[in-house]
Amino acid sequence: MAAVEQRPYEASREKGGSGWAIVLAQELRDLWLGGRGLLLSFGFSILLSLIAYLVATNTALNFLEQRESVNLTLQVAIAVGGLLTLLAAADTVSGERERGTLETLLLTPVSRRQVVTGKLLAALSLWLVAFAITVPYVWFLGRGLLIVTEALGTGLVVGTLLAVFLASLGVVISLFAGSNRVSLSVSLFLLLALFAPTQLPSSAQQGWAGELFLRANPITAGEHYVGRIVVNSHSWSEDVSWLLSPLVAAVVFAVAVPVLGARFLRLGGGRAK
């Protein structure tokens, strides 16, 4: 966010606007009218186009049932949508520090709790746009079956829980990171670590220990739940226990953001100044 754009905080605050809403509006303008959000969405749409084209035309992948094609596309959308929100969130505080705009922001009459809340919500807008981009691809791949609504509904619920978790995680890391590079690196490393279990061989995912491992990880649990509904045609309630860890992670980290933000949103990366 540029320093010259800090003034609207004060102007809007004087008009009686809610602090977090003012920060959110300013962050949204910065993200979307600044072009960064659109550029990320453009890359996201290219990725989804490639996957949709491959599952629709490649003979080796073509044996996939329609349900599996929809599931693959939806899971990639959730994963990459989560990545986008994490990247945007990891830049929120540490990025402002490096650009030298955090000091100006802290001087505005908006509480620190509201600042981080507004920034978190702005980062989440990337997921909502990513989901909107996913809709036509899922519709195309799943048309003719009665799974499009279910797939989109499941994708929205699971994707939103994971996006809230990842965006909150990104903001928390950004609060404490000494530099923007550290914040982005740690966030990406954690994301890769969370996704790593999806690459385990199926034999390693069997048994109570394997299932517990999958259930405890919000990413693997969420993706598993989507697969059960889209591929196995299970009802929403049948495997709802798999949503426990995404829900807990989303709530815990979303609560942690304003709590930690009020205390640690400082110029020096979490160090007392």
């Binding site: 600044g34 072009g35 659109l38 453009f42 186009s49 035309t57 044996f63 996939l64 049932e65 195309f140």
Partner: protein, 191 residues
């Protein structure tokens, strides 16, 4: 004396032969027992021709019958899939999640039926069969079922023709929007 040598030698040879035979018989018997007599098994399948489409899932049954007068234990049934045309790559692991069944002991004249669930992941003409082998049947041929001829037709699961406008249209739309925003920002004074 010279004539005594022959009967003694003959007796010695006879004793040696007898001892050798006494030692060799149990040894040979032990070897035969290790290999085990081949149980008289028959393996049948409920059909020998299956046609499906790529990605299709189907099931067939095989029945293993023990024709031996004694019960048989330690039998293992295994599903095999083979491409009947050169150049067809087949990885049987992809075709069935459970290709091996360890069977309960079969009484004399008894039989057991196994249902095999198969997922056709390659198109072409393929052969499938069930092999049953006793776990102690080293060196003995397994009992096999008749071959099932499987014809898997290529299947286009999606209308790929419609994907191109979508795959190009959405990125183009977002790209244009991005470009428009950037141009608009560039025209704003003070930027």
């Amino acid at each position: 004396m010279s004539r005594l040598g022959s009967p003694v030698a003959l007796l010695g040879a006879l004793v040696a032969a007898l001892l050798g035979a006494l030692l060799a018989v149990p040894l040979l018997a032990a070897q035969a027992q290790a290999a085990g007599p081949s149980p008289r098994l028959s393996v049948t399948v409920d059909r020998t021709e299956i046609s499906t489409q790529l990605g299709g899932k189907f099931a067939f049954r095989s029945t293993i019958t023990n024709n031996d007068p004694a019960s048989v234990s330690g039998l293992i049934a295994h599903l095999n899939v083979v491409g009947l045309r050169d150049g067809v790559y087949v990885d049987p692991e992809d075709w069935s999640s459970q290709r091996t069944h360890y069977l309960e002991p079969l009484p004399a004249g008894g039989s057991t039926t196994i249902t095999w669930h198969v997922h056709a992941v390659d198109d072409g003409v393929l052969g499938m069969y069930i092999a049953v082998l006793p776990e102690s049947g080293v060196g003995l041929p397994p009992a096999t079922s008749p071959m099932i001829r499987l014809t898997v037709a290529e299947k286009q699961t999606l209308n790929s023709g419609g994907i191109i406008p979508l795959a190009l249209g959405i990125p183009a739309l977002i790209g244009l929007l991005t470009l428009g925003v950037r141009v608009r920002r560039g025209r704003q004074p003070g930027r």
